[in-house]
């Protein structure tokens, strides 16, 4: 029996982006007779069961709030000893640790090194699979990078599912327009005064039925600010659900929409998961070639200022220059569907799609300063990661020289004893 464990201890969006890996493993488990197990933070366990009904979901204490005293922290953690013991008692064929997190690696370390994939730990030594080492090298030049996070995780396995089979085709579902308010990083979102004309334009372009505002309770004030800036026909069509849905409720709300307007958020990934078209605004540290909506049929407007994508943790010393083009009057005209409208300088519009490597964003409007570099890199990565399916993709020889290292070539990849054996 094939038995797989995926450790996804990050946030909502990451959980949705794990679908390609999980579906691929699910397919293998079904073919061979087996099980897929998924470990997530307690707060995501219910949602995980809903998103991945074929998986056995385990809740672990991965997230907490700062300010706990030592005893309370100990109580939280030790509540899960049984869950950890249950995992440790199972013989997994492969254990995928997807997060560069000491907690994830600590769980992985309960299993032999030869079954660990992704981030790993054995005898106290943390390490990364070759794919992850490569990804860290790519991250030194994020601007030229071009592989979706979901595909990095999927390629930790030898038999990833075809990218086009991961999410349903993006199609209007009849429930009007959804608006996701700011994600966790406010700098990556548009302020209400910029968002309002864009929402209005899309509302009208879609026939003006209903607008649903989505977000946590922390974003309720932002929703009210947006409502104040909308003219009355739009405002009257608005249903403000910020702070009023739990995670399954959020899935319910999103899954019936015609389109979701969003920055790079967990809601965006849920929309893609449900096959709801997204219109996504990517700026600041968000880079759609890394975390864009997965699958074909979404629109992305990416800020391509020379400083983008920036480091999330570093303060901006450019006066949020990447945000300005989203306030340009040209953008609503583009959103309205005018073929003649010029996209404001500093933005590129992409249509999402899939190829042999995974999900990608194809430029449809605006000047894409990183296209050539990205295409070369994807060609290289396709040959490297997509196996026989990608073997015939030409180009990308320069990145091969840049990113292949002696250790890749000479040393056996961690935990893959069969490599090089006949």
């Amino acid at each position: 029996m094939a038995r797989f464990l995926v450790l996804q201890l990050a946030r909502l969006g990451d959980l949705a982006q794990t679908r390609r890996l999980l579906l691929g493993l699910g397919r293998q488990a079904a073919a061979l007779g087996g099980e897929v197990h998924l470990a997530v933070d307690h707060s995501l366990a219910v949602l995980a069961r809903r998103l991945y009904p074929f998986a056995v979901v385990h809740g672990l204490p991965a997230h907490g709030r700062p300010g706990l005293d030592a005893r309370a922290a100990a109580d939280r953690v030790f509540e899960s000893r049984q869950a950890l013991a249950a995992l440790a008692g199972m013989a997994f064929d492969r254990v995928f640790c997807l997060n560069f997190s000491p907690m994830g690696m600590a769980v992985a370390a309960m299993f032999p090194p030869e079954v660990q994939r992704g981030y790993r730990m054995h005898a106290g030594q943390t390490d990364k699979d070759g794919v992850m080492r490569l990804v860290f090298r790519l991250a030194r030049n994020r601007r030229g990078a071009g592989i979706n996070l979901a595909d990095i995780w999927a390629h930790l396995d030898d038999e990833p599912l075809a990218a086009a089979l991961v999410n349903p085709a993006a199609t209007a579902r009849g429930g009007g327009l959804g608006v996701a308010l700011a994600g966790r990083e406010a700098r990556r979102s548009l302020p209400p005064e910029m968002l309002a004309p864009l929402v209005r334009t899309l509302f009208l372009a879609m026939g003006g039925t209903r607008v649903t505002l989505l977000g946590t309770a922390a974003q309720a004030a932002e929703a009210r600010a947006l409502l104040r800036r909308l003219d009355s026909p739009v405002r009257e069509a608005c249903l403000d659900l910020t702070g009023k849905t739990d995670l399954p409720g959020l899935v319910d709300a999103i899954s019936g929409l015609d389109r979701l307007v969003t920055p790079d958020t967990g809601a965006m990934h849920l929309a893609a998961f449900c096959g709801v078209p997204a219109t996504a605004f990517f700026l600041s540290s968000a880079w759609c070639h890394e975390t864009g909506p997965y699958g074909a049929g979404h629109r992305v407007f990416q800020a391509v200022a020379p400083c983008a994508p920036c480091l999330e943790s570093a303060p901006c010393d450019q006066g949020l220059a990447c945000r300005a083009p989203f306030g340009d009057a040209g953008l609503p005209r583009c959103l309205a569907g005018s073929g003649k409208a010029l996209l404001p300088a500093g933005l590129v519009e992409y249509a999402t799609d899939c190829d042999a490597l995974g999900a990608l964003c194809r430029p449809v409007r605006g000047e894409d300063p990183t296209l050539a570099r990205r295409e070369a890199l994807r060609a290289f990565l396709t040959r490297r990661l997509a196996g026989v399916d990608g073997a015939d993709v030409p180009g990308g020889l320069e990145p091969a020289g840049e990113y292949d290292t002696e250790t890749d070539w000479v040393l056996p990849p961690a935990g893959r004893p069969a490599r090089g054996e006949w």
Partner: protein, 423 residues
């Protein structure tokens, strides 16, 4: 040896894996052809990499240390080249030669060759390393040739795998060995995904499995022999000899297509043939030019495998016919010695002025007559040709294991005298 003088060849082995025994067979074949061969024993350095993984440092630091140590090994190879002065450095896939070291060897005029005994579609690192070798020998044809040309490698040689008749040979097994290694249907090799799924359908055919990486397979577990450990080359020869039918299914990490239908032919095919052992092998794109249909019994699907397996288990006389014909073909055409000859011929044809002139006068020249007789015996013992140069003889003497004889010590003395006192 053909008209070419005896060459000095440094064989750089990989640290681990399937190309390691192939490297050793190459070194042995080159010696057998009369060349002076040294091997860079990379496996001896592998323990340090494993030790690095026990440091408990950050993963970034670990990667840095691995890179740094690899550079040290590369420098060790360069130092070995300086001292040994080879005409050719032959590296096997995964040999620990950095690009920096390869650039240095090229700058110093040392010819380098890589025998890339891997699937280019799966191990794509060749893209970054192939341009730095003077000759690149491969086990696949187009489009690999075309791809190598695109990265600037023009000296590409198709060099299929082979077997060593001194190692892979028919054996008379003892009853104990037959019990230990024998089976009606046998497979020796690593537990790749396609094999696991395919072999699970062969339990009715007296299947036994030898080799590593089969852990955790509940269906095949009871058929696993020798505790699923990696078997030595010597043991594999006994396994081949002890089976009625040897299965040979080329590996794949995919379970979507169990018989992958790829192009290159694996070493097991040649080894089984050279042993005179019967095999059922999956069809490969490049197989027909290596063996004919009446030399190797083939299958193209698991269904066909089952059908043919049942047939051949019931017809030992047919098995014997196939095995004898395959062995004759392998002995005639598929030895490592033939491959090495081909590689050297190709290198000579592609690198102008290679090999450079002989390294000094013949070893016997200028020696007193009684010594010449004694030295001739030593040359035979060292498998060196009669016209070996004095310098090559000294290299061979220095690399001998154990205690030196008075003659050998005298030769080392003479070498020093030549350096210090002879004009």
């Amino acid at each position: 040896m053909d008209g070419r003088r005896g060459l000095r060849i440094l064989v750089v082995l990989p640290m681990y894996g399937g190309s390691l025994p192939i490297g050793r067979h190459c070194a042995s074949a080159l010696s057998g052809l009369g060349h002076l061969v040294e091997t860079f024993e990379a496996p001896a350095f592998y323990g340090a990499f494993e030790a690095l993984k026990t440091l408990r440092v950050t993963s970034d630091r670990l990667e840095y240390l691995e890179n740094s140590y690899l550079q040290v090994i590369s420098q060790a190879i360069c130092a070995k080249v300086e001292t040994f002065g080879p005409d050719l450095v032959l590296a096997l896939a995964q040999a620990p030669l950095s690009r920096q070291a390869l650039k240095r060897l090229r700058r110093d005029g040392v010819a380098t060759a890589m025998w890339f005994v891997e699937d280019f579609r799966l191990f794509t690192y060749w893209e970054a390393f192939a341009p730095y070798y003077d000759v690149f020998a491969v086990i696949q044809k187009d489009p690999f040739f075309e791809r190598l040309a695109a990265v600037g490698q023009q000296n590409v040689l198709y060099l299929p795998l082979a077997a060593d008749p001194a190692v892979h040979r028919p054996l008379e097994l003892t009853p104990v060995e037959r019990r230990l290694y024998g089976a009606r249907t046998s497979f020796m090799g690593a537990g790749y995904a396609n094999r696991r799924v395919a072999f699970a359908q062969l339990l009715d055919f007296g299947l036994a499995i030898f080799g590593s990486d089969w852990d955790g397979d509940a269906v095949l577990g009871p058929r696993l022999r020798l505790d699923g450990r990696r078997v030595t080359t010597e043991e594999s020869v006994k396994i081949f000899n002890a089976a009625d039918v040897n299965l040979n299914l080329h590996s794949s990490v995919s379970t979507q297509s169990l018989v992958s239908g790829g192009d290159f032919v694996n070493p097991r095919t040649f080894e089984l043939a050279m042993c005179g052992a019967f095999q059922l092998v999956d069809r490969r794109g490049l197989m027909d030019e290596l063996f004919s249909e009446d030399e190797l019994a083939r299958f193209g699907s698991v269904e066909e495998l089952k059908e043919r397996l049942g047939h051949f288990l019931a017809h030992p006389e047919e098995r014997a016919g196939y095995a004898a014909r395959a062995r004759a073909r392998a002995l005639g055409e598929h030895t490592y010695a033939r491959r090495m000859e081909r590689l050297l011929d190709f290198t000579a044809g592609r690198i102008a002025g290679w090999p450079a002139g002989a390294g000094g006068e013949g070893a016997l020249a200028g020696l007193p007559e009684p010594l010449r007789g004694e030295l001739s015996a030593l040359l035979r013992e060292l498998s060196l040709p009669a016209d070996v140069s004095f310098d090559d003889l000294i290299v061979a003497v220095r690399s001998r294991q154990g205690l030196l004889t008075p003659l050998e010590t005298s030769l080392l003395f003479l070498d020093e005298w030549k350096k210090q006192y002879v004009k």
